[in-house]
Amino acid sequence: MAGPATDSGSSAESTYRSARIPLLVPTWVMIGVFLVLPVALMAVYSFLTKEMRGGVIWEFSLAAYDQFFVNRGLFGDEPASLEWTYINVFARSIAQAGIATVLCLLIGFPTAWFIATRPPETRGVWLFLITVPYWVNLLIRTVSLRFLIRENGPLNDALMGAGVISQPLALINTDFAVQLGLFYSYLPFMVLPVYAAVERYNFTWSEAAADLYASRWVVLREIVLPIVKPGIIAGCLLVFIPSLGAFLAPNLLGGAKSFMIGSLIDEQFKKSLGNWPFGAAVSMILMSLVLILLLLYARSTARQERP
């Protein structure tokens, strides 16, 4: 009885497998051309020698990584020590991206909750409204935000007109402006996965917990948050990772001190003063950081799915 059943099962399985290969070709081509190839190119470039006016000379060199990590003084004649300049840029970027992520979570979670608890017919409309601003190019949205919050911009005018403040707020060219820009750029990446998780949440679980003497706050902490956690983590990653490498918001909204990794990389590939191998090396280091984060995430969800 069991024998034939297993046989037919595994042969069906293998037919299925062989049929799958041609279907997967487009995917592999896509991944190869748009993911593996560019990353491989960057990896190779990061180990080449820089050409003075942009571009590379095909000669192996560790100069880019050396520049990132090692400090030999202004003229290269001092004993080697750890170079802090770029590590500090990373640290600041992580802080900025982290704050933007927290802002997105604080606003995005209630928003997602609100949408998921509307009647099913109207949820689509709310989701649509969330995505409408994102039909406009990110550059244009960032410039508009700059216009909106500048010293004599509409925001300050309105606040002064309403008598809330007497002096214009110095918002533009601050870290806060960058955080605001990042928050605004990536909010939907928080709202959508959290919405997907909350939508699948069964509100009878909350009732069952309340029935078993849990207060509202405890229901949130012990039942709701653990159950929608995968959505929250996905949202945080989707906001944090692009924020970390963003360059539009820091370049257009931040001051000289708000320099972030994205700006650093961006600068290396500008025509005349660039250093391609260094830009590539910074990209590789950023990517490794992100990869480590993703691995940690994968491990945490794998643990959760175990019985």
Binding site: W205, A208, D211, L212, Y213, P307
Partner: protein
């Protein structure tokens, strides 16, 4: 003695729809009380108001004499077994069972022991560390029961907890539930639309329809002395025959059947005129023609334990009779003229 639950003329309105119309019930302590009625009659709504998930539009609910209107669900000494179980998916079985104890501030060791005992009681000790998704429907149902019983509520609310189970398991669980109720002494308020379930488990039953309570009584009362057409028809099988009431007094009535035959019967009706008479098919026997109600056999249906005999009374009214398929009975055949004998308690005059 104060009642465990006292529901006083409770009305519930959703928007423009009235789900409950002035429902009043008294449920005693230690009672196995059942709310029985067809889908949509308001059973769940009533239960949810007791648990605190739904506000009472009008009227009041008392729990051991105390008005609970102002209490949040987590402040009511009432636990619920939900229709779809609602086990917490991210917790193991034992953590589910211990959740209420944790919320009540029991220390870890004590709640482990108690939750373990509860699982033992529902025969699931071996499944303590599984996730709810890894259990069968019947096992999940028992976890839900253990979870609701663990904090020893004063009143346990059960919303059709057996409806998702297959017949065999449902029958076994009926007995287990009934036994659990008498062992723990907790007041059970059990919701079902299955009349057999209600009859076999309950001390008392409230039959509901369309937001009204139709009748409250013991299973025997409800079955043998239904008050109205809805109850007589909903519980068990019956023949409803429109009759003329000639005289009625002290719960007894004299009625004239369509064929002109007169009988005396117990009565829920208080006035003369046209009413419905309920005749239970299993309380009727067939005899030789000339004695009792005259009828002609039209069809005989074999049901295994029973025979269903469809007859037509003189006057043209159709009726069904149930005969136990015992060795000694003579099986009638279509066309036979017979005399029907109504046994004690076969007929009941209804109020509508």
């Amino acid at each position: 003695m104060t009642n465990a639950v006292e529901i006083r003329t409770v009305t519930k309105v959703f928007g423009t729809f009235t789900a409950l119309h002035g429902v009043s019930l008294s449920i005693q302590d230690n009672e196995f009380f059942t709310l029985l009625g067809p889908s949509g009659c308001g059973k769940t709504t009533l239960l949810r108001m007791m648990a605190g998930f739904e506000e009472v539009t009008q009227g009041e609910i008392l729990l051991f004499g105390q008005n609970i209107a102002a209490l949040e669900p987590n402040q009511r000494p009432v636990n619920t077994v939900f229709q779809q179980y609602a086990l917490f998916p991210h917790m193991s079985v034992i953590d589910n069972v211990a959740f209420g104890l944790k919320m009540k501030g029991w220390p870890l060791e004590k709640r482990r022991i108690r939750a373990g005992e509860m699982l033992e009681m529902v025969h699931l000790s071996d499944f303590a560390n599984r996730a709810p998704a890894q259990l069968s429907g019947g096992q999940q149902q028992r976890v839900a029961l253990a979870r609701a019983l663990a904090p020893q509520p004063k009143v346990l609310l059960l919303d059709e907890p057996l409806s998702a189970l297959d017949l065999k398991l449902r029958q076994a669980m009926r007995m287990e539930l009934k036994q659990l109720q008498s062992e723990t002494g907790i007041t059970f308020i059990f919701v079902t639309h299955d009349q057999e379930e209600a009859l076999t488990m309950s001390n008392r039953i409230a039959v509901m329809s369309a937001g009204h309570v139709q009748q409250i009584g013991t299973p025997r009362d409800i079955y043998e002395s239904p008050n109205n057409r809805f109850v007589a028809d909903f519980i068990g099988e019956t023949n409803l025959i429109e009759v003329e009431v000639e005289a009625v007094a002290d719960g007894q009535a004299q009625v004239v059947l369509p064929g002109g035959h007169r009988i005396t019967t117990s009565s829920a009706a208080r006035d003369k005129g046209r009413h419905h008479l309920s005749i239970r098919p299993e309380r009727v026997t067939l005899g030789s023609p000339g004695v009792g109600l005259q009828a002609v056999v039209e069809q005989v249906i074999y049901l295994g334990t029973d025979l269903q005999v469809l007859v037509r009374l003189e006057g043209g009214t159709a009726m069904q009779v149930r005969l136990q398929n015992a060795a000694r009975i003579t099986v009638p055949s279509p066309g036979d003229a017979v005399g029907l004998h109504l046994e004690e308690g076969a007929a009941r005059l209804l109020s509508d």
